[in-house]
C-alpha cells in the first residue's frame, strides 16, 4: 500500500469545547489507485486528509499514517515538509483563493519545484511552461506570466493541478477540486485528472460531498460521517450493493441519469455536533431504521460477507445490501424485529429526531 492510515483521531481544543473532528479513521490507498472519500460537509474529510500531510494546525492527533513505509505523523516538521509538495501533491476546492493573488501563475509553479529541487530559475520556468501545457492551458509559454486573476476558474484549477503535479508525486490529494467550478468545467477537470492519472500513474484521494463526482473514477470508496467511517467498498459494491443507510441516503440525493425530473430526496436533519457527540451510531437521529441498540452502542465496522474490502458500521443485518425499495423493506422488517418504531420514510426519519 502506498498510504495506510490507521486509527486516525484528530480533535481541536476550542473555547466551546473539544471538537472531535476525526474519530478513529482507517483507510489505505494503493499505488496508482483512486480512493473516493465521500460525506456531507463537516464529516471530517478535509481534516483527515490535511492531518495526514501535517496541514492541520492546533490539533491533537493520534494514530499512524504510513506513506511509502514511513509514518507521516511521526516525522519532524522538516521531514514532512520535504514529502509535502514533492511526493504528495494537493489540489484544493477554490482555485481563486488557493492561488496567491500577487504572484504570477508560473512563478507559483516554479516556487514549488525549487522548494524541492536544486534547479535554475530558467529550468524551473521551462518546466512550469511544460506543466501548464500538460494540464491543458493554451499558449502556456505566454500564460505562464499571467496572474491568477487573469485566468478563468477552470484554468485556475488546472494551474493548481500543475502545482500539485510539479514534482511527479506518487499521491495527489484532491479536496473537492470541482465544487467551486461550473458544471461543464467540473467535467473537464475530472477528465483531466483521469487522463493525467493514466499518463503519470499517481494515486488519487478524491474528496467530495457528491457521490456522482467519483462514479466513474474511484477504485474504492470510503463514506464518512461525523468524523467516522460509515462504509467502505469497491466502487461497484458501493453503488450497487450499499449496506449503510447513510450511503443509501447519499445515493438517494443524487440526480439519477434516466430518472430525469424525479424528485431528489435529501437526507433529512443535520449532522450531530462534534463537541461531545452522543453515544451510539452517529447517524441514528436521522436514520429511518434506528433501533434501540443504535442509540446505545457504536456499531463497529464489520466486513460484509462475500465482498472483499466491503465494510459497514451499521447494526442492520450485513446481508441486506442493495439500493431498492425491496431491500429497504427488508431492512425495515429487520429493524422492527429489533424493536425499531420509526418508519423508514423521510417523514418518519424526521419524527425519530430527538
Amino acid at each position: 500500500m502506498l498510504l495506510e492510515v490507521k486509527d486516525l483521531v484528530v480533535s481541536f481544543p476550542t473555547p466551546d469545547g473539544l471538537v472531535e473532528a476525526v474519530r478513529g479513521v482507517s483507510f489505505a490507498v494503493g499505488a496508482g489507485k483512486t480512493l473516493g472519500v465521500v460525506g456531507e460537509s463537516g464529516s471530517g474529510k478535509s481534516v483527515t486528509a490535511q492531518t495526514v500531510i501535517g496541514l492541520t494546525r492546533g490539533a491533537r492527533v493520534s494514530g499512524s499514517a504510513l506513506f511509502e513505509g514511513r509514518d507521516l505523523l511521526k516525522m519532524s516538521r522538516d521531514q514532512l515538509r520535504q514529502v509535502r509538495g514533492s511526493k504528495i501533491g494537493v489540489v484544493f476546492q477554490d482555485p481563486l483563493s488557493s492561488l496567491h493573488p500577487f504572484y504570477k501563475v508560473g512563478w507559483q509553479i516554479e516556487e514549488a519545484i525549487r522548494a524541492h529541487e536544486k534547479v535554475s530559475r530558467a529550468e524551473a520556468r521551462r518546466r512550469a511552461v511544460e506543466l501548464l501545457g500538460l494540464v491543458g492551458i493554451p499558449h502556456p509559454a505566454r500564460r505562464v506570466d499571467d496572474y491568477p486573476h487573469q485566468f478563468s476558474g477552470g484554468m485556475r484549477q488546472r494551474a493548481m493541478i500543475a502545482i500539485a503535479l510539479a514534482l511527479n508525486p506518487s499521491l495527489v490529494i484532491a479536496d473537492e477540486p470541482t465544487t467551486a467550478l461550473d458544471v461543464t468545467v467540473q467535467a473537464q477537470v475530472l477528465e483531466l485528472m483521469k487522463r493525467l492519472q493514466a499518463e503519470l500513474g499517481m494515486a488519487i484521494i478524491m474528496i467530495t460531498h457528491d457521490l456522482g463526482i467519483i462514479a466513474d473514477m474511484a477504485d474504492e470508496v470510503m463514506i464518512m460521517y461525523a468524523g467516522k467511517v460509515m462504509e467502505t467498498a469497491s466502487r461497484h459494491d458501493l453503488y450497487y450493493e450499499p449496506h449503510h443507510p447513510y450511503t443509501t441516503g447519499l445515493l438517494g440525493s443524487l440526480p439519477q441519469s434516466g430518472h430525469e425530473g424525479e424528485r431528489l430526496v435529501p437526507i433529512p436533519g443535520q449532522p450531530p455536533s462534534l463537541i461531545g457527540p452522543p453515544p451510539g451510531c452517529p447517524f441514528w437521529p436521522r436514520c429511518g431504521f434506528a433501533m434501540p441498540k443504535c442509540r446505545l452502542e457504536v456499531p463497529p465496522l464489520r466486513a460484509v460477507p462475500g465482498a472483499p474490502g466491503h465494510t459497514s458500521a451499521c447494526w442492520l443485518p450485513l446481508e441486506l445490501t442493495g439500493y431498492s425499495v425491496e431491500v429497504d423493506a427488508a431492512r425495515h422488517l429487520a429493524a422492527v424485529a429489533e424493536g425499531a418504531t420509526a418508519v423508514a420514510t423521510a417523514s418518519g426519519a424526521e419524527e425519530a429526531q430527538p
Binding site: 490535511q50 500531510i53 496541514l55 516538521r77 515538509r81 520535504q82 514529502v83 509535502r84 509538495g85 514533492s86 501533491g89 494537493v90 484544493f92 477554490d94 483563493s97 488557493s98 492561488l99 496567491h100 493573488p101 500577487f102 504570477k104 516556487e111 514549488a112 522548494a115 524541492h116 496572474y147 486573476h149 487573469q150 493548481m160 502545482i163
Partner: protein
C-alpha cells in the same frame, strides 16, 4: 494605471494650491502686523508705511495674491522677518536635522512594528503574542513628550551621573561633522519618535497577518512544502502589507507635525523647532513656507502610496 497616477498628481497640485491660498488668507487676518514685527515697537508711522510699501502690502489684494503664487512657483520662499535670511537657506539648514530624525525613526518603527506584529500573529495567544500586545499598548498610550523626557532622564542623565555616557546630551551633531556623534545624538530621539508609532504598526500588522494566515493560499504555500519562513514572509507578509503601506503613507505625510515634540524635547534644530519659533515670532514667511512644505509632504506621500499599491498588487496595476 498611469492615467490614474497622473490624475493623482494633478489632484495633488490642486491641493497644494488650495493650501497655499488658505495660508495667504491667514496672512491677512493675522493680528501681527508684519511691518511692526520687522521695525520693532518704537517705529514711527512713516517707517511702518515705508516697510509696508517695500513688502508690497499696500498693493491691491488680488495683485499680492498673484505675485505670492508666482513667487512660490519660482521657488522663491521670501525672507525671514526675524533675521532677513532667505527662507530657503533656513529650510536648507533645518531639513537635514528633521530628515535624520524622520528617516531613522520611520525605519525603526516600520521594522520594529512589523516584525513584532508578525511574531505575535505567528502564534496567537502565545506568550510572545501577549508580550507584544501589552508592550504595544504601553507605548501606544504613552504621550511622545513623556516618553522623550523619560528616555532622556533615564538613559542620559541617570547614566551620566553614574559616569556612563553612551547617549549624547540633547542637541545635534551633523552627519558630515561626525558620524558617531550624529548617531549617538539621534538614537534617543529616534526611539522616542519610533516606539509610539511602532506600537500602532505592531497591532496593525498582527491583525492583518492573522487575516492573511487564514487564507487558502497560505495553506497552498504550506502544501507546496515551502519553508515556514517563506510561507510567513513571501506569502503572508507580502499580502498583509497593504494596510501597513496605507498607514505608513499617512504617518510619513504627517511626520513634519509629528517631529515637533521630539525635536523640542531633544533640542534638535530641525523644521519642527523652527516652525514653533517662527509662529511665536510672527515670522510669516518661514511659517508659511514650512506649512506648504508639510502639505507637499502629505501630497507626495499619498501619491507614493498609490504607486506602491500598484507595485504590490497586480490586480490594481492591471485594472
Amino acid at each position: 494605471m498611469a492615467r490614474f497616477l497622473a490624475r493623482r498628481v494633478l489632484l495633488g497640485v490642486v491641493v497644494l494650491w488650495v493650501v497655499a491660498s488658505v495660508i495667504f488668507i491667514l496672512y491677512f487676518v493675522t493680528p501681527n502686523d508684519p511691518a511692526r514685527v520687522i521695525a520693532g515697537k518704537e517705529a514711527t508711522a512713516q517707517t511702518l508705511a515705508a516697510i509696508r510699501h517695500h513688502l508690497g502690502l499696500d498693493r491691491p489684494l488680488i495683485d499680492q495674491y498673484g505675485s505670492f503664487l508666482w513667487r512660490y512657483l519660482q521657488g522663491n520662499l521670501g525672507y525671514s522677518y526675524y533675521n532677513s535670511e532667505p527662507v530657503s537657506t533656513i529650510i536648507a539648514q533645518d531639513l537635514p536635522v528633521t530628515a535624520s530624525l524622520a528617516v531613522g525613526g520611520a525605519i525603526i518603527w516600520l521594522v520594529l512594528g512589523v516584525l513584532a506584529g508578525v511574531l505575535a500573529a505567528r502564534r496567537p495567544r502565545s506568550l510572545a503574542d501577549r508580550t507584544v500586545t501589552s508592550v504595544a499598548l504601553f507605548f501606544y498610550s504613552m504621550p511622545t513628550f513623556l516618553l522623550g523626557l523619560l528616555a532622556l532622564t533615564i538613559f542620559f542623565y541617570w547614566l551620566h551621573i553614574e559616569g556612563i555616557d553612551i547617549f549624547a546630551p540633547p542637541g545635534y551633531v551633523g552627519l558630515s561633522q561626525s558620524v558617531s556623534g550624529w548617531f549617538s545624538h539621534m538614537v534617543l530621539p529616534w526611539l522616542t519618535l519610533a516606539l509610539v508609532t511602532a506600537a500602532i504598526y505592531a497591532r496593525l500588522t498582527r491583525g492583518s497577518m492573522l487575516d492573511v494566515l487564514g487564507e487558502d493560499y497560505i495553506r497552498t504555500a504550506r502544501a507546496k512544502g515551502l519553508s515556514e519562513r517563506r510561507v510567513i514572509y513571501r506569502h503572508g507578509l507580502r499580502a498583509a502589507i497593504t494596510p501597513i503601506v496605507t498607514e505608513f503613507g499617512i504617518d510619513v505625510g504627517t511626520l513634519l507635525g509629528g517631529v515637533i515634540v521630539t525635536e523640542s524635547v531633544y533640542g534638535l534644530p530641525g523644521l519642527g523647532s523652527q516652525i514653533l519659533n517662527s509662529v511665536t515670532d510672527g515670522d510669516l514667511p518661514v511659517t508659511m513656507s514650512i506649512a506648504i512644505l508639510a502639505a507637499a509632504f502629505v501630497v507626495v506621500a499619498n501619491i507614493l502610496v498609490d504607486a506602491i499599491y500598484a507595485l504590490i498588487d497586480p490586480r490594481v496595476r492591471l485594472s
